[in-house]
Amino acid sequence: MKKFVEGSHAIAEIISKCRPGVISAYPITPQTHIVEGLAKLIADGELEAEFINVESEHSAASVVLGASATGVRTYTATSSQGLLLMAEVLFNIAGMRLPVVLTCANRSVSAPINIWNDHQDSMTVRDSGWIQLYAENIQEAIDLHVIAYKVAEDKRVSLPVLIGIDGYVLTHAFEVVDMPEQEMVDRFLPKFDPVVKLDPENPVSMGLLGAPDVYMETRYAIAKTMETALGVIQEASKSYSDVVGRPTGGLVETYRTDDAEKILIAMGSVVGSIKDVVDELREKGEKVGVLKIISYRPFPKDAIFEALKEAKYVGVVEKAVSLGADSPLFAEIAALLYKRGSNAVVNSFTVGLGGRDISSAQIRQIFGEMEKDETDTRFIGLNTELLEA
């Protein structure tokens, strides 16, 4: 059904349609509208679920950990400092192979305190064992949440999924979307059937001490499962697309990359802005395109290389930094291209930190600077007056 809806409320509605049994969250801007929406749906009797208001994000993640281990579908959402406070629990949830789904309303991290969008929060937990999917727009945010449950609970995967939604840019924006009907979601998403659960009828111990004789194999197992998850994400995206009758999801999306000499790579809502500039430059005859990474973990190396293999110039545009090193996505793209013998010139562009607007002019500037091979990350859109002050 088509409707005009705020991003956060769209997410609340689709989560409700996924029928979680336990929801726990702690308020943080810009995540709040999502959990407020869910609390209201429960208060109105439209969603049968336990909503557990907790005293911190650490406990929010711990509550969904405990509920998921008891065999119930769970949901939580957070942002920024909240995600960092959860960090310890996030590793624990993944290590215990619990299929929790979490929305990260992507926001910068303090100091200085800043409530606006970038990707530094979820980038920080990229090695936690969570699958990470990033949405370009509200429609994709809706679809990725349903796909996330399917992938997380698939017995070949059994890993948690984080969906990155750009704070404000998507959480507080309104868009006309195609909201799947309850019947469609039910058809696509069966009841959660856990591999193991806490049950007095069949008592198991979970979260054991893994000494050096067993620990390494548990990490290897997650690494291998991430490879399996690449296929499961594609499979789930395909069957979901069949149910809703339009293409969605997947590992990556290519936009006018087929004969492109210059390809930018990005994640999240900035891809939409880049697509507009690509169209504009294509009008002028420039061979440009954009590669959107939807699945950042697992990192879809084959799909990325396939899209980039004919490109002469590759630019990685990201809302994150690795202070003291290259920006994270760039480092991974450069390593991939090097290992596969690509001769493309690869450059790193960091943009939009702390919610700074990313203009079409900046994107045109990046396309213009792609031929210049530089070793270090370039910060686009800096105010030089502030730097000199």
């Binding site: 336990v22 726990s24 650490h58 509550v63 405990g66 509920a67 008891t70 119930v72 979260g207």
Partner: protein
Amino acid sequence: MAGVVADPKNHLMASGHTACAGCGQAIASRIVVNAAGKNTIISNATGCLEVFTTKAPQTAWRVAWIHSLFENAAAVASGIEGALRYLGKLDNINVIAQGGDGGTADIGMGSLSGMLERGHDVLYVCYDNEAYMNTGIQRSGLTPLDCNTTTSPVGKRSYGNPRPKKPLLEIAVAHNISYAATASVAWPADIEKKVKKALSYKGPKFIQIHVPCPLGWRFDSSLTLEVAKLAVETGLYPLVEYENGTLIGVRKIKPKPVEDYLKLQGRYRHLLKSPEALEEVRKVAQANIERYNLSVG
């Protein structure tokens, strides 16, 4: 002995775990789970108990059991309880969260308070051995006054831990919970009775059990119950019981001199040479005796 199932094969915490000889926590935790019965799910904080019972691929637990992290046993238990409520199974299953004194009164204080305040139907059990024993006898918020630990060492300018124990039980009681009590591993039947009583209430309940640690307190491992008993009999560890915020009972004592308790333990050896510091510990016992009216006659 009460609290002990006749056939060890039926213990819900099996033997063969790797606790030290004379570990008070190992004895108390077995009594707790046996009293709770098999329809129980346990959320266990990081600490000695988790380490000595669940080194993969082995487990000592014959009930459903989960360990997540150090500070979140109460929050994980809240999630388990929420899930059971959602599934309609809460009436038939006990949920117990348990941890040591550090996991409860220090790093886990926030999650415990949250669990108590929200009214979850969970029993929280704190095994109080008065320091971080799993990491090597560092001071916690429940370490007693003038106690020698590796991070509150005795020295030229120090008698050990400079502060008395955090009033954990009172903090729990202040959350208006239905049941709260202290217990001691020296009285197994009392632990069993209190666990069963606690579990008969809906909502949150809290039990703090004194569990001497031979290694950390430096006493012979054959003396665990003797040491535990003296802590109570000197007034240093009052056994009390609250229902709905009201004190309903205390274990009466004929107060013994605190030296009887202190002299058995290496962690207090320095006090016996220091009358002033000893007097401060005596005041702690006396305050407990007066506050709870512990003396018989």
